[in-house]
């Protein structure tokens, strides 16, 4: 288990160049110039970022795939630049839910963006932008507490119960040395329409 203490202000200073260069096929950014203009902590997940649990005070712990129990409550995480340590928690739209599922029950789209049964979804409800931080075990659905929208983690975040009408975006991942690593940008823009 990796534990790192991060002084976010220092990282923001040191990461400005490296993380801009690391920009890949990032969803939600209209151009490289726009992305580069953003602070690293605000950037959407970058290829190669690892997913970490952050406590809001700069303390981060990388999530290991092996610690995730099948269909246990989702873990809320943010991407972290491995080179600089910058946690991209400056934008709540970077918050993701990480969970282990049964690969045999996944549809093709879910399987494509998962790794060894682990999935990562945007934690921002597509209805009004609340955090999707609950899981209904018997129905196997993500649940938004604000307006009770539900999403199917086995069907690429499809809405099962409104008022949300748009599915959750997935964050494609891979597993490297038991760490969860970003494979590409969100499959759809995180957030909601006001």
């Amino acid at each position: 288990m990796t534990v790192s203490k991060v002084e976010r202000r220092n990282f923001m200073k040191s990461c400005a160049g490296a993380c801009a260069l690391a920009l890949g096929a990032t969803e939600g950014l209209s151009s490289r110039a726009e992305a580069a203009a953003k602070k690293p902590s605000l950037m959407r997940p970058q290829i190669g970022d690892r997913l970490v649990i952050e406590d809001g005070h700069g303390n981060a712990r990388a999530i290991s795939a092996s610690e995730l129990i099948l269909e246990a409550q989702q873990v809320l995480a943010f991407p972290q630049c491995p080179k600089t340590g910058v946690i991209r928690s400056g934008s709540r739209f970077n918050k993701v839910m990480v969970m282990r599922l049964d690969p045999a029950l996944m549809d093709e789209a879910t399987k494509k963006n998962s790794a060894d049964g682990v999935v990562a979804y945007s934690a921002i409800c597509t209805h009004q932008g609340c955090d999707v931080n609950s899981f209904i075990e018997d129905k196997k659905e993500f649940f938004c507490f604000c307006h009770y929208s539900r999403f199917d983690p086995y069907k690429a975040g499809k809405v099962t119960t409104g008022p949300a009408s748009r599915r959750l975006g997935m964050l494609p991942i891979r597993i490297e040395e038991d760490l969860i690593v970003v494979e590409s940008g969100f499959t759809r823009k995180p957030g909601f329409k006001r």
């Binding site: 809001g56 005070h57 932008g129 609950s134 009770y148």
Partner: protein, 592 residues
């Protein structure tokens, strides 16, 4: 940006289009806009509704009686207007000499001809994309001079030109990224626009801020939770005060003779009492503030070290009356804690406890001190970290934010109440606070399923209660099958208007007896403050429909514990009514 600013001449041309000229006798009421003065706020004309509860005292009372208990059968819709917004609509139509200003969720203000429904301008504040909070609503604009004031969800106060809807200035009073937001109607007195901040579920430290009405400069800021060394700080331990809550999300009432505003404060944060040992002043209190300086000149804490999420944000209603035979300068408050509190304003601004009476089932307070009003608690009904218990009333209280009303003609005080409703809740160990993240200490899943039904719930839960304050007795009550999130309007026509139920009904009762006289089924549930005004000799009743926020959440909690699922459609509409003989010419004119 206002539409007028965006489209320039085109928008102005639309505002005075031939259609607008045809339906109203006044072509465009904005052309002769009547500035709002403090004198007018102190003595509002009967034909106007200048602030969210009609007057400084918080009565929600209209002296108009053209529409009355004898002719209410003839009340019909005159016009309606779709706000284009989902979520909970809670604000009243605020009317100044024929111009209506309505705020909606998503920080929108719409100006309309109050007689014809013609739109005059609209404004929507651009809000940070990532901002989300638990109560996306607004409870009404404030009017002063030639400006309209909106407290926005990004914790910024906006002043608009009343004639054009253009921004005059924007002053931010807190940081939305740290969990602060605003939904309340501004209170305006002595040239100060006063607002408070929400965010009690995010670990904020509440405050009330006064902003100069003309310049937008901050005049003063008074925190509801004292810092170390300040009076009241002895009721906190360690750093708990930094995240102590005490949010302020309902406008205060105001005694213009004293120059003192009375504000209610939310519960201490986080929710479980053992996370912040002590009395936790000035959470769950009423504060008396000198509006010129912000100095706290008095307070009364309704209950200490809250454990039940019983915000006491509704300010007390100012009523001078004979209480059980003795003249008092009263402050009357139907508490979320289920107790009807009677307090008295003292000359020096301090607040004296007078009386307390439970108005719904309440099993937490074992006693209330007859001199100080301080309650004692039953530990069996006091939750804590790792201690789950049941308690009544529920966490939404005997009455949540929904305003009461007072009718000087009937002498009755009307309370929108929840009866026969309890909660089961307990806390879990708190994770460290993250800025802008929920900081409650009670699992969300538990909050969503907290409702427990008491005996009597099978008959009804929602109530409108009428109290004779002089006798301290309940005179009548009107029952509603499930919830009642309906703010109340009462009029000199011996009427009480209110919605609040999940059947979308907006109803009129006889203010003297509680007998239902009239009802209208709206397009969505009605949780907004109704108001009344008069233009060109016609009295109007207006209310927004638009279900959402906590009414919707309570419905979800009901559906979780009851054997049903109730769908209440969403979407905001301004509904305006008048007597048929008055409405017909307006309806015919608008059709031509």
């Amino acid at each position: 940006m206002s539409l007028a600013k965006k489209f320039g001449v085109l928008a102005v041309a639309l505002a005075v289009s031939p259609a607008a000229l045809a339906v109203g006798s006044a072509a465009n009421p904005l052309e002769s806009y009547n500035p709002v003065t403090e004198k007018r706020l102190q003595n509002p004309e009967p034909e106007n509704w200048l602030q969210w509860r009609g007057n400084y005292e918080g009565w929600s009372y209209s002296p108009l009686d053209q529409i009355n208990a004898d002719n209410i059968d003839d009340l019909v819709p005159v016009w309606s207007y779709s706000t284009g917004e989902l979520e909970g609509h809670q604000s009243p139509p605020i009317v100044n000499d024929g111009v209506m200003f309505v705020s909606t969720p998503n920080n929108q203000v719409i100006a309309l001809n109050a007689e014809t429904g013609e739109e005059l301008w609209s404004y929507k504040k651009e809000i940070p994309e990532e901002l989300f909070q638990l109560h996306p609503t607004n409870r009404g604009v404030g009017l002063y001079g030639d400006k309209v004031y909106l407290a926005a969800t990004d914790a910024c106060l906006v002043a608009l030109d009343a004639k054009t809807g253009e921004e005059a200035w924007v002053t931010c009073v807190a940081d939305w990224q740290d969990g602060y937001y605003m939904t309340l109607s501004p209170l305006i007195a002595k040239g100060q626009v006063m607002v408070g901040t929400s965010g009690g579920e995010y670990g904020i430290r509440g405050h009330i801020t006064a902003v100069d009405a003309e310049t937008g400069e901050i005049s003063w800021k008074t925190h509801t939770i004292p810092a170390p060394g300040e009076p009241g700080s002895e009721t906190w331990k360690g750093d708990a005060w930094k995240t102590g809550g005490g949010s302020v999300w309902v406008a205060g009432t105001y005694d213009s003779d004293m120059g003192v505003a009375f504000y209610g404060t939310g519960n201490g944060g986080p929710w479980m009492p053992d996370t912040r040992p002590g009395d936790n002043l000035y959470a769950n209190s009423v504060l008396a503030l000198d509006v010129e300086t912000g100095k706290m000149v008095g307070y009364h804490q309704y209950h200490h070290n809250d454990a039940w999420d019983w915000d006491e944000v509704s300010p007390p209603v100012i009523i001078d009356y004979k209480h059980k035979g003795k003249d008092i300068k009263g402050l009357v408050h139907a508490g979320r804690n289920g107790v009807l509190w009677t307090l008295e304003r003292q000359k020096d601004g301090s607040i004296k406890f007078i009386d307390a009476e439970k108005y719904v089932k309440q099993n937490v307070f074992k006693s209330i001190d007859p001199v100080t009003g301080r309650p004692t608690y039953d530990p069996a009904h006091t939750p804590g970290t790792g201690k789950k218990v049941t308690f009544c009333p529920s966490l939404w209280g005997g009455k949540d934010w929904t305003p009461e009303a007072y009718n000087p003609k009937t002498g009755l005080f009307y309370i929108p109440a929840h009866e026969n409703l309890c909660s089961e809740m307990g806390g879990v160990k708190l994770a460290p606070r993250k800025s802008g993240e929920l900081y409650i200490g009670v699992p969300i899943s538990e909050i969503l399923t907290n409702i427990r039904l008491a005996d009597g719930a099978e008959d009804h839960i929602g109530e409108i209660q009428a109290w004779d304050l002089a006798k301290g007795e309940k005179v009548w009550q009107f029952n509603i099958k499930e919830m009642n999130w309906g703010p109340i309007l009462t009029t000199a026509g011996n009427l009480v208007f209110s919605g609040g139920s999940n059947d979308r009904i907006f109803r009129a009762l006889d203010a003297r007896t509680g007998k239902k006289l009239w009802q209208f089924r709206a397009s969505s549930g009605v949780t907004a403050v109704p108001s009344s005004w008069m233009v060109n000799g016609t009295q109007f009743i207006g209310v927004q429909s638009g279900w959402g926020v906590d009414a919707q959440r309570m419905q979800g909690a009901f559906d979780a514990v009851m054997d049903h699922t109730t769908k209440v459609p969403q979407g905001g509409t301004i509904n305006v009514f008048a007597l048929k003989k008055k409405a017909s010419p307006l309806i015919e004119a608008s059709a031509n």
